[in-house]
Symmetry: C2
Subunit: 566 residues, 2 copies
């Protein structure tokens, strides 16, 4: 049970820290609660920073959700901004705090200590210039904003194709700059796999933003108010760009030096190790948010997944624990979403890279689905990838790229993963249907139907990465079942054309000794065709995602659209 | 196991029937499949009909998803339109079919028979006029459309405030007509409760559409090309309206006479009784779609819930069953959605009326949540009501009215209900967050937090319908904790004002012998205030939904906005 008057110190006043403080007070009027924030602001809208740069969020005040004053009057919490906690003295249960205005260092004792230091941007030390930026907090953002407002900026290089990188790219583009994005791997957004990311690449390129994949920054030179950036690809310098500014967005790392210095256990990545009660290796010290290691909800393995939603939930849990309520944190599944220009990209659960690393026996499907009933105006398509365990059908993860309704489908699948539903349970979900919102069979239902057909052996599938090998084989038939007009308009080399609606009458044209690999535009007619073939004694396979996906991956680059800075 | 060559007859070619036929063929190339459709069209977009009237869907051809020809070539199904099945002869396993073009009646034998006759609009026989319409199929819609196109229509009365009624009202409004909606009960949309429906009433009235609640049509007279409609309220004629046309949308009933005549079991409402394998009382006859009784997934009691999504799923299940796959239908939870002018209204699970009828010990909460992060432009509010079981926390139902993101939250809750999650599990859902899409604590999470606080006794709540009684009591304090400015701008009679941020310092003003009933704008500050009060020894209750909900229910009618037919 809780002591009558506990003294609780919270280090860090954003997301997790602020959530913990508010919940602590609601649970205990008697506790003494002091929150220390090194910076000037508490409870600011971290995730809104890129939009402030682009001007979509026009007032900086909108980003400041709480002030020390509002927190004091609502929650009776003593908030000390510009006070940096410089040491934890675990033996006498005190912390050393540096008042950054006066330089004075003082001690504060605690019964319970909550660490919510967050993460810090990784910025390579070797490059130094006033034209090089990172974006993590309000002062960082002010620097960029002021630079944009006071100097005539025409060109920016974004190093890193992750969430912050793409959001910042979009916002600088909206602010009128030419933008180049540099990404070390073969695709943007590490939460996605390469195949789904290709849809995002096409969209970024369609905006006229240059995307340098598999590139790294080799050197940066400053000359005449410009930066000259040289890029490596496979360790060779391949390109040079002259730019006005560079934003490094190559990721974040746990800001855990305070914890580490105090001898608390951190993992190899520097994340503070906590139990499901959010306790560190010292039971009187809790840690939450972007500084801690979590359990991946899907793999049940340790992971580092810094996200705002989990940080807030952990803040609540830590408050419960301190006040004697046994709430537990059950892990992070990595639900994340991003707007990239007009596109929405969302994912939840794990991707193939993680599935492979965990040695899981998985399968995947690709769908291309309309956001709402096709007969109602304004429907757009979304690309859906779902990963599931081959034996159990357990849902492992989903990736969706598209426009309207992407967030909805990803959230529904996120809920299904949380509920430990099987992939074919998706078929049974009863979702809301009216023409402006969905179809009678929602894309999530369709995914369930497809997975069920695979799990029960009604259809066998193959993938875009199998095509090259099949093209070289003499023992297979590659069959495109679209209409002749579609086929003539572009098809995969080596595929012959028999439209699905003619297939029953033309089975004699097919060699029964050969396996048949079928494609159509998106996989639906291919499924119908493989069912006809299989029931007629053929061994047939359907290309998941069809020609549409294959072309997104292997097709020509999208021609940029005329620029529209709206 | 399935016979080598089964003969399967399907009665009805829309939604369920068409789904069954397609799935049957994919499962069995050898079966003989004949589909009979009384009307001219199969597989048409029923749910799109109102939008065709309003012109949002401009081409009728968009509503016709499949033709007999396309179904024949894709699925090798013999589709006979304008063939009406007039009798089922169960003893010799045949049906009698009337060719509506020739008048000829012939027999067709079956191994398995699938009934998908749908539902028919209820239209009171006592009113007959070419100016009186219902909307259920394409010919109905054509009649309305032709009437609108050829005559100068200025005014319409819609009888019935259900889904079809409101969709039609909106579309006639968009087509430029003055519209009056007449509803027999105290609120539109029987899936909603009165409280949530009040938000919809306000929105409809804001458009200048007249809403006559608790009214019934008493008489209709035709005079000089106009209809004169007299309305009853509490059995007294209270109003008379002159109109150009009347659309009856007072509901549908199962079109089950064929089944009933054949001696198949139907329930008191006329719905065909089926097992979870979709078999009727005759094991060789299946029935699906809007003609059948289902099990309510939440209450596990028989129900009649005609919806397109379930009809399609049942079509799939019946095909599986006929082909020897043991798929089961697990019940309908009633997930439904509607656009009413600019508003989206969605619900899933059961409402209070059904909860009461089933004798459930339930509680409810009301939230008023932003669609996405408040600091990012364009966020709108939605009104959320969630019903849950008091002892177990089991989720029973949700109703949401608002704009952006309503469909998403309802679908997430629908998935949670299907997964049999508890209401407080909503708190743990990890949903996708970026500022344009949501908040770090999604409205669904917030609902979970609130419910958890109630279930664990951290907060006690009261409701809008408790206020009147409390106002008359001398033994309670009614406390409004908003700011003085908010309070002065409108408050509930009898409530005194102490802002939450001053409450700790003004506890002496409150009589400790009295229970305190707290309100704020939406319930959040009220929660903080009750926590302060309870921890200081008071017995305090928070008004769920706050002043916002109370005013939506009891406040003045919304003033119509200037008309915008966009």
């Amino acid at each position: 049970m809780m002591k009558q008057k506990q003294k609780i110190l919270i280090v860090g006043g954003v997301a997790g820290g602020a959530s913990a403080a508010a919940r602590l007070r609601r649970l205990s009027e008697s506790a003494e609660i002091i929150m220390f924030e090194r910076g000037e602001f508490i409870s600011f809208a971290n995730c809104g920073l890129p939009y402030y740069i682009g001007g979509e969020i026009s007032e900086k005040s909108a980003l400041i959700l709480q002030t020390p004053q509002s927190f004091k009057s609502r929650y009776n919490v003593d908030v000390r901004v510009r006070h940096e906690v410089v040491a934890i003295n675990r033996n006498d249960k005190t912390i050393s705090v540096k008042n950054r205005q006066t330089g004075e260092i003082y001690l504060e004792s605690y019964d319970k200590l909550v660490l919510s230091p967050g993460a810090k941007s990784i910025c390579p030390d070797e490059f130094q210039s006033e034209r090089i930026f990172t974006i993590r907090n309000i002062p960082d953002t002010d620097r960029v904003k002021e630079f944009l407002d006071t100097k005539k900026m025409q060109h920016a290089v974004i190093v890193g194709g992750g969430y912050i990188g793409l959001e910042t790219a979009e916002n600088l583009y909206r602010a009128g700059l030419e933008v180049v994005i540099v990404q070390h791997s073969d695709h943007v957004l590490a939460t996605l796999d390469f195949d789904t990311a290709c849809d995002v690449h096409r969209h970024i390129e369609s905006k006229g933003v240059q995307l340098l994949l598999k590139h790294e920054v080799k050197s940066i030179a400053e000359h005449d108010g410009k930066l000259i950036v040289a890029f490596n690809r496979d360790n060779e310098i391949v390109d040079e760009v002259v730019t006005d500014m560079i934003i490094f967005a190559i990721g974040v790392q746990p800001d855990s030096s305070l914890a580490e210095d105090a001898g608390l256990t951190v993992n190899s990545r520097g994340a503070i190790v906590v139990s499901e009660t959010m306790q560190t290796s010292d039971p009187d010290i809790y840690a939450i948010g972007d500084a801690v290691a979590v359990v991946n909800y899907v793999t049940e393995q340790p992971a580092y997944i810094p996200l705002a939603g989990p940080a807030n939930k952990q803040g609540r849990i830590v408050a419960d624990q301190i006040c004697g309520i046994d709430s537990r944190y059950s892990g992070t599944q990595g639900s994340a979403i991003l707007r990239v220009f007009d596109m929405t990209v969302a994912s939840t659960g794990i991707n193939e890279t993680v599935a492979k690393k965990n040695g899981l026996n998985y399968e995947k499907i690709f769908l291309w689905s309309t956001s709402h009933a096709g007969y109602y105006p304004g429907a757009t398509n979304m690309s859906i990838k779902i990963i599931f365990e081959r034996e159990t059908g357990k849902l492992l993860g989903a990736q969706i790229a598209g426009y309207e309704g992407v967030d909805k489908r990803c959230d529904v699948i996120a809920a299904a993963i949380r509920a430990k539903m099987s992939a074919s349970d998706l078929a049974e979900l009863e979702l809301c249907y009216a023409p402006p919102y969905s179809s009678a069979k929602d894309p999530v239902n369709m995914a369930g139907f497809v997975i069920e057909n695979i799990l029960t052996g009604k259809v066998k599938i193959f993938h875009w990465h199998d095509v090259e090998k099949l093209q070289k084989s003499d023992h297979v038939i590659l069959l495109d079942v679209r209409t002749p007009a579609e086929y003539d308009n572009g098809h995969i080399d080596g595929f012959i054309n028999i439209p699905v609606d003619e297939l029953r009458g033309r089975l004699d044209e097919l060699d029964r000794l050969k396996n048949i690999y079928v494609t159509c535009q998106i996989g639906v007619r291919g499924y119908a065709a493989t069912r006809i073939l299989v029931q007629n004694g053929f061994d047939a396979y359907d290309l998941s995602g069809g020609f549409r996906l294959w072309r997104s991956i292997f097709g020509a680059k999208t021609k940029p659209q005329p620029r529209n800075n709206k």
